[in-house]
Subunit: 265 residues, 3 copies
């Protein structure tokens, strides 16, 4: 399988997709800037009074539960229902899944109203989400990385969606397909919202790439490659977060394709 | 007409006006930092329980509808009523006007409780706002830029306020007066919240310049000139947003007056 | 008294404490990044549905009233009650105390449900908070700096907590102990949320240092020293805020201990 990274980023930049984000307070500014830098157009709107109209003019919906409260959950549900009806891609970030019952219950409610196109989280979030909705084979006999892969497969099958697990090596699964993206640097874990940004960028690719699996792989590669480029000049978290935005804007489609390290199994 | 940019910026910095912002989640940090850098003192408070007291100690009120919800609208209305009663300048940013019915209806409600001193938006927002509240002459026979100018004039007359339309060339109108500010760089459209920041800076000038038209022109010039200065050293959006804050702080009143490109018609 | 700064910062970084923040919209991104850079792990969660669970897995709770509204206050109270029951340190930032009745009343309510471990604010906030809850000896015969010291002592006695007053010289009091930290640069007042960041960093030290007085002094020293280091390369507010995050990450425990200027009386 070939992932057409060059063409996908070119298309994203030519299309300038509107990405509707219902996301958390911590990362809103950064993910909006990342979407702009990458070539998309962000809009943030959460009120139940307007999310249906907003998602109807957007190319994709990104839902992120980082800083939940009741009226935001109502907006998330309404937006997801409309997105599903209109066939718009939905990208879900289960931030902090497993940390509190409220997050777990909210995720169950959200997944009840519509299946996401892509779920993107870190290993512990994917494990928690899978644990809440599917049966895994138990922890004892399985290595952690195998476990999260198993959880990703289970989630993917249950919701018929792509599951993207961020880590030192990103793992993206859909049905029988599995891709590994081994770009990125450890410093990315020291900047808040890098995972949320990966989710937002997945929304931008999902709005412009027909195959959600390819969209998720393209987004993971874009994040990892730009992380590596930013790290060349910025070794500390403050300057890194700024350099990363610069790289999202400066990277050429050809350079992305050249630097991406993707393995399929 | 002469705009006294040097004196206006000096006054702003000597006065350090308190600017009360009820603004959106995406830009709050950036507009607060921009106000501080320019020489003002920002405060953010949205609860209906406290906005009346807060606006009463402020020099100006900035209302921005970027991320609406019902209890924020209640706070906006209460603050605008109090500001109008106390004669404090009100600057309104109709973010996303025209995108959803909820935004249009909220703008109608806000404009019903008090007329702003300055309305600042981009061309599509000003067109949408004018379309919702005044009759324009139709799109067919008029170029887009002429149309937004016509919309700005109509809004200005209807609400007896200054209307500032941001774009490659900013247009500021009040009654029969029209000013064009041709500073700025295209990269400003790739940083989230630059328009919201223009609105906040307009609030700072409105708090310290007697004539609202001159305040709006001064703010547009300050934004555009600092954009040009920042662009000298920062060509990508991450580093540009940081350089822009630096320039807001570093620019001297004399340098602002020297670099501003203002034309009156 | 010796403050073991080197060991305290080493412990913080080895422990990577989870700091639960219920803070304001303006600073959330920056304080999360500051906590990560310093070596802690931030989580933001405000909903009454989940704060009890969240605080139970955290090392400390930080409550900051910068952008209040009713359902956030409910979350703050629930979190403080749980933190007190579980013996977790609580750090309270009374942002804007004295500016509105709503802030004063909210602070009274919060202090009724649980005594904080550390209260950190600027002089006017500490004076307002003390004025609302204890009797000071009157303004006329006392210099301002003496007054805020008197207010800090009064608050410390009333709530049996540490009180940390930020300023050109930070003053930290607990019972009969008083420490003065004379690090820092004036430019810190031109970046929004530096005070809120001091509060968050105090939360990180409170989670990992047994003595709250020593935790508060360590946090004040960390902030001031990193401010001085950042200022070496960044003299304007935009670049300073980024350099400051870099310094929080780069500073070694030994360097912190070497540069801290602490006086005890």
């Amino acid at each position: 399988m070939d992932f057409h990274l060059e063409q996908n980023l070119s298309n994203l930049r030519n299309t300038v997709p509107l990405v509707h984000n219902i996301t958390n307070f911590v990362v809103m500014n950064y993910t909006a800037n990342a979407l702009l830098a990458a070539g998309a157009s962000p809009v943030m709107a959460h009120a139940v009074e307007e999310v249906e109209e907003m998602v109807s003019i957007a190319g994709a919906l990104v839902v992120n539960i980082g800083t939940l409260s009741a009226h935001w959950v109502a907006g998330m549900k309404a937006a997801m229902v409309t997105a599903a009806q209109l066939g718009k891609p939905i990208v879900l970030d289960p931030v902090g899944a497993g940390a509190t019952s409220y997050r777990n219950e909210t995720l169950t409610e959200l997944l009840d109203v519509a299946s996401p196109t892509i779920i993107r989280g870190n290993a512990s979030e994917i494990l928690a989400l899978a644990g809440a909705s599917v049966q895994t084979k138990g922890v004892d006999s399985t290595a952690a990385s195998d476990l999260s892969l198993e959880a990703a497969w289970a989630l993917s099958k249950k919701f018929d969606c792509v599951v993207s697990v961020s880590g030192a090596i990103d793992v993206i699964v859909k049905g029988n397909q599995t891709a590994f993206v081994s770009n990125g640097v450890a410093l990315m874990t020291k900047v808040t919202g890098m995972g949320c940004t990966a989710t937002a960028i997945a929304g931008a690719f999902a709005a412009t790439v027909a195959d959600p699996f390819e969209a998720a792989v393209s987004a993971a590669a874009m994040m990892g490659v730009c992380g590596e480029l930013a790290y060349r000049n910025a070794k500390s978290p403050g300057s890194f977060q700024i350099a990363f935005l610069d790289c999202l804007s400066e990277i050429t489609p050809a350079h992305l394709a050249e630097l991406a390290k993707i393995r399929i199994s």
